[in-house]
């Protein structure tokens, strides 16, 4: 069962290329039973080369060309010769230009490329789209393409992977683009998996000790975490056979409620290759850290606030949810833990299944799932990835909406959007939707 990846815009095309690199590297081990590792993300082209089940879309050719040649140069895998679509001129950081102009204009061509890739799969597990929310093409065309995918494949799982921009200083209109993207995707996507550049940047700086952090480094971390989720694993229902439907399993365990679709990821351990030799990790140690990272809303194992505790179970309800927000407790709706490596079947994850971590209305046995694989992932003997539907993204989302709303209050930049057909009314619709999402997550109790 296969996943088709649709990479959109500069960010999506760069992150996607890194992701396939990691998966290919990891999949070379050929230890996953039934070859589900490579079959899931690759097929063999007519000359037998490993070819990514990916579609590359951008409104300018530079990044696509770069990603394609980088893949070909790896000597291990490549992109399909005709699996891309690009134009000459970008969307100029304007969501409206991507969504209202580029998207509809090239709909047929883009759908064709995706269809070809889908038809190559015996069974489509679903589509993963990768894009940033800040720019114009990834966000605008990406939203439009997601809409088309939803129409064309109504029964397929669609996971949108979004890269959120640095909270300051990437693109001035990034908050508008983000608000428009998120509000639209919320109605289309099955799950919205988010990586924040700020959090990933901190991982690069403090855990991986990278001095001069480049976009490649940031994308590398994102790819590592994504692959940690998407590589084959044994689910509780799969009876010792590697799950063939990772996207279905993922959304079924995390995002069944239509108002809660935001997923965050954290991984442990993440260390620089140079210090690997001095690091010893045990399952109890890793899981203890991961649990505290989750409840204290730490994005990495450094600087965890160990004072934060889960509230007593009996005090549920919205009121207590708010008061515990103040103490730094991060409440979860649902969590998915993925463990990979040595002695994985002896790992006990009870700490993450405590009722106190979850809402009063979804019992923790339904809210918490574990996938396991005895195959070590990447360079780590033991590693854990936690995909979380929790209040983690509440604060960055709230900041995003606040800044956009401030700008909107002064009607700044609105003319740039209206000229492509996005009206003030559309903005208000989007704000309403996201305020609703913020309210839902705030009241998670």
């Amino acid at each position: 069962m296969s996943i088709v990846t649709v990479q959109l815009g500069q960010c999506g095309n760069q992150v996607g290329q890194e992701l396939f690199d990691v998966i290919c590297e990891d999949g070379q081990k050929e230890v996953y039973q039934g070859g589900s590792g490579t079959e899931r993300f690759f097929h063999h082209n007519t000359t037998g080369e490993l070819t990514a089940r990916a579609v590359l879309i951008d409104m300018e050719p530079k990044v696509i060309n770069h990603s394609m040649s980088k893949a070909a140069k790896s000597g291990k895998w490549r992109y399909g010769e005709t699996s891309h679509f690009s134009q000459k001129q970008g969307s100029g950081n304007n969501w409206a230009n991507g969504y209202c102009v580029h998207g509809p204009r090239h709909r047929e061509a883009m759908e064709d490329v995706v269809r070809r890739e889908v038809e190559r799969c015996d069974r489509l597990a679903g589509v993963v789209t990768m894009m940033s929310v800040a720019g114009g093409t990834g966000s605008g065309v990406g939203t439009y393409v997601t809409q088309c995918l939803r129409e064309a494949y109504p029964h397929s799982f669609i996971l949108n992977h979004l890269t959120w921009p640095y909270s300051t200083g990437e693109v001035i209109v990034q908050n508008y683009n983000s608000v428009l993207t998120l509000s639209h995707l919320y109605g289309l996507s099955d799950a919205v998996l988010v990586h924040e550049n700020d959090a990933v940047h901190a991982v690069c700086a403090r855990l991986l000790n990278i001095k001069h952090i480049s976009f490649g480094d940031v994308n590398g971390v994102i790819a590592h975490q994504l692959a940690g989720i998407l590589q084959p694993a044994l689910t509780p229902d799969s009876y010792g056979v590697y799950s063939r439907n990772p996207l279905g399993e993922l959304v079924s365990s995390l995002v069944c409620h239509p108002e809660y679709k935001l997923l965050s990821v954290c991984s442990i351990p993440q260390v620089a290759s140079s210090s690997m030799a001095y690091s010893v990790f045990s399952w109890p140690g890793l899981l203890k850290h991961l649990r505290q990272m989750l409840i204290s809303n730490a994005r990495m194992e450094e600087g965890i606030d160990w004072q934060v505790r889960a509230p007593p179970v009996q005090c549920g309800g919205a009121e207590s949810a708010r008061s515990f927000r103040a103490t730094g407790f991060n409440r979860s709706l649902a969590n998915l833990l993925i463990l990979r490596g040595k002695e994985v079947f002896s790992a006990e994850a009870d700490g993450l299944q405590e009722a106190a971590l979850y809402t009063s209305w979804l019992p923790s046995r339904e809210a918490f799932s574990v996938w396991k694989s005895p195959v070590s992932f990447n360079k780590y003997e033991r590693s854990a990835t936690l995909v979380s539907n929790s209040q983690t993204l509440l604060e960055p989302l709230d900041n995003m909406v606040r800044k956009a709303w401030n700008m909107f209050a002064s009607r700044a930049y609105i003319h740039q959007y209206t000229k492509f057909g996005i009206s003030e009314e559309d903005f208000l619709d989007s704000f309403t939707s996201l305020e609703q999402v913020i309210s839902s997550y705030t009241q998670l109790g």
Binding site: Q10, E60, P61, K62, V63, K88, Q89, G90, S91, G92, N93, N94, G136, Y166, T168, G169, E170, V171, I172, V173, H201, A205, I210, K211, H212, I213, S214, F215, G216, V218, A318, V401, R402, W405, N406, M407, F408, A409, S410, R411, A412, Y413, H415, Q416, F431, T432, E435, Q436, S439, Q443
Partner: protein, 444 residues
């Protein structure tokens, strides 16, 4: 890859444009060792093989035959353009790209705008159209002109309107050189105010450059370094025609450097892609307020290698200082509506994380890195108020026969622009910076 066309109008416009082409060629020669016509070159140059038939334009990836600037040169007198086509840059321009008259506009905006505009408008559009046909994907027009004279100011802004009508989807970035207070052209306040209205209405963004700030910068350089001027630097490259340096050449070189930096990310690859239309998208929150104050760093060491280069961190504060601005107003006392930083050279994401918007990996010739800041800052209002003052003083002594309607409309346009900036300043001073707009509160 997209392409841009430079339209240079009037004496000043052509001189600045000429410096730009010279520096751009040097820069590409420095980077492009293979002699291959690549996309970077293609963004501003055509590659023409005179031996082949037809248009003779060669595709990307072939050998460089003869580079032709994607430019249209317009002047209503012959002097400057003649110098250009006889000088070292003669091969870069075809006669078909030139349009001149002999009699000049007599420092009269109306002559340039109305008389010549009507007489030559169609021809100019035709020349632009031909240049556009040579483009694979035309993205941007760079108009270079001055505000004080007759041709650049009058005909230049007429051309701007024509470009908007004929190529509505193509971004229009205008570099406008504003006259000094002591400008020897008496009518310069009139011309400037009349031109301002056109810029406010028809440009996507305007990069205003004050003559006086250029003079200040050069004076400072002279003070810092004595009489010697670094001859190899990009700022002080030889003047047109290879003659001894003329007083305006250094000033024009500064403006040319500004254009060089703006276009660098369009001309070279960087780790972050940059679309020229992203400039107006990000920096113009309100449609009329599209005047972006440029500042450039390094600036002083551009001219003299003996001035020690600034550290990277200093460059960032420099970029926000009055001394490195090409307008004489002080940005720090006013409201930043938006600001973009365009870095070039070996700048790392981590170095620039909080500050940088666009990175281009090719450094300017002779320097490891450089930084260009474009600020949409209400401080620009100061220059406009001063301009309005000079205009008003002159208008009191007005002569007969002037088209009063045109003048009052232009003055009104300027006043309302100033009022818009004022309004923004007022609200920003009345509200604390930490204030947020009230948010929707939802019932639980």
């Amino acid at each position: 890859m997209t392409q841009s066309i430079v339209v240079q109008v009037g004496q000043c416009g052509n001189q600045v444009g000429c410096r730009f082409w010279d520096l751009a060629l040097r820069e590409h020669a420095h980077v492009n060792k293979e002699g291959v016509y690549d996309e970077a070159l293609g963004s501003f140059f055509r590659n023409v093989d005179s031996r082949s038939s037809g248009a003779g334009t060669c595709d990307i990836g072939g050998r460089i035959h003869r580079l032709k600037a994607r430019a249209v040169l317009v002047d209503m007198e012959e002097g400057v353009v003649n110098q250009i086509v006889q000088g070292p840059l003669r091969d870069v321009f075809d006669t078909t790209q030139l349009l001149t008259d002999v009699s000049g506009s007599g420092n009269n905006w109306a002559v340039g705008h109305m008389t010549y505009g009507s007489a030559y408008g169609e021809q100019i559009v035709e020349k632009v159209r031909r240049a556009a046909e040579h483009c694979d994907c035309l993205q941007c027009f760079f108009l270079i002109h001055s505000m004080g004279g007759g041709t650049g100011s009058g005909l230049g802004t007429r051309v701007l309107g024509l470009l908007k009508d004929e190529f509505p989807g193509v971004c229009r970035i205008v570099t406008s050189v504003y006259p000094s207070e002591e400008d020897d052209v008496v009518t310069s306040p009139y011309n400037s105010v009349l031109a301002m209205r056109e810029l406010t209405e028809h440009a996507d963004c305007v990069l205003p450059v004050e003559n006086q700030s250029l003079v200040d910068i050069l004076t400072k350089i002279r003070l810092m370094s004595g009489p010697r001027i670094k001859t190899d630097s990009s700022l002080a490259s030889g003047g047109p025609g290879g003659r001894t340096e003329k007083p305006f050449d250094s000033m024009n070189n500064i403006i040319a450097n500004l254009l060089l930096n703006i276009t660098s990310s369009a001309r070279f690859e960087g780790c972050l892609n940059m679309d020229l239309n992203e400039i107006s998208m990000n920096l113009v929150p309100f449609p009329r307020l599209h005047y972006l104050v440029p500042s450039l760093t390094p600036l002083y060491s551009l001219a003299d290698c003996h001035i020690p280069p600034r550290r990277l961190d200093q460059m960032f504060s420099d970029a926000f200082s009055k001394d490195h601005q090409l307008m004489r107003t002080d940005p720090r006392r006013s409201l930043y509506l938006a600001c973009a930083l365009m870095g070039r050279g070996n700048l790392q994401l981590s170095d620039l994380r909080r500050n940088i918007h666009r990175l281009c990996s090719v450094p300017p010739v002779g320097h490891a890195h450089s930084l260009l800041a474009l600020s949409n800052n209400t401080c620009v209002k100061g220059s406009f108020v001063a301009l309005r003052g000079r205009y008003t003083r002159l208008y009191r002594k007005k002569e007969d026969g002037m088209e009063v309607g045109l003048f009052s409309q232009a003055a009104e346009s300027l006043s309302s622009l100033i009022e818009e900036y004022d309004g923004l300043d007022r609200t920003s001073s009345s509200s604390s910076p930490s204030l947020d707009a009230p948010r929707l509160k939802m019932a639980a």
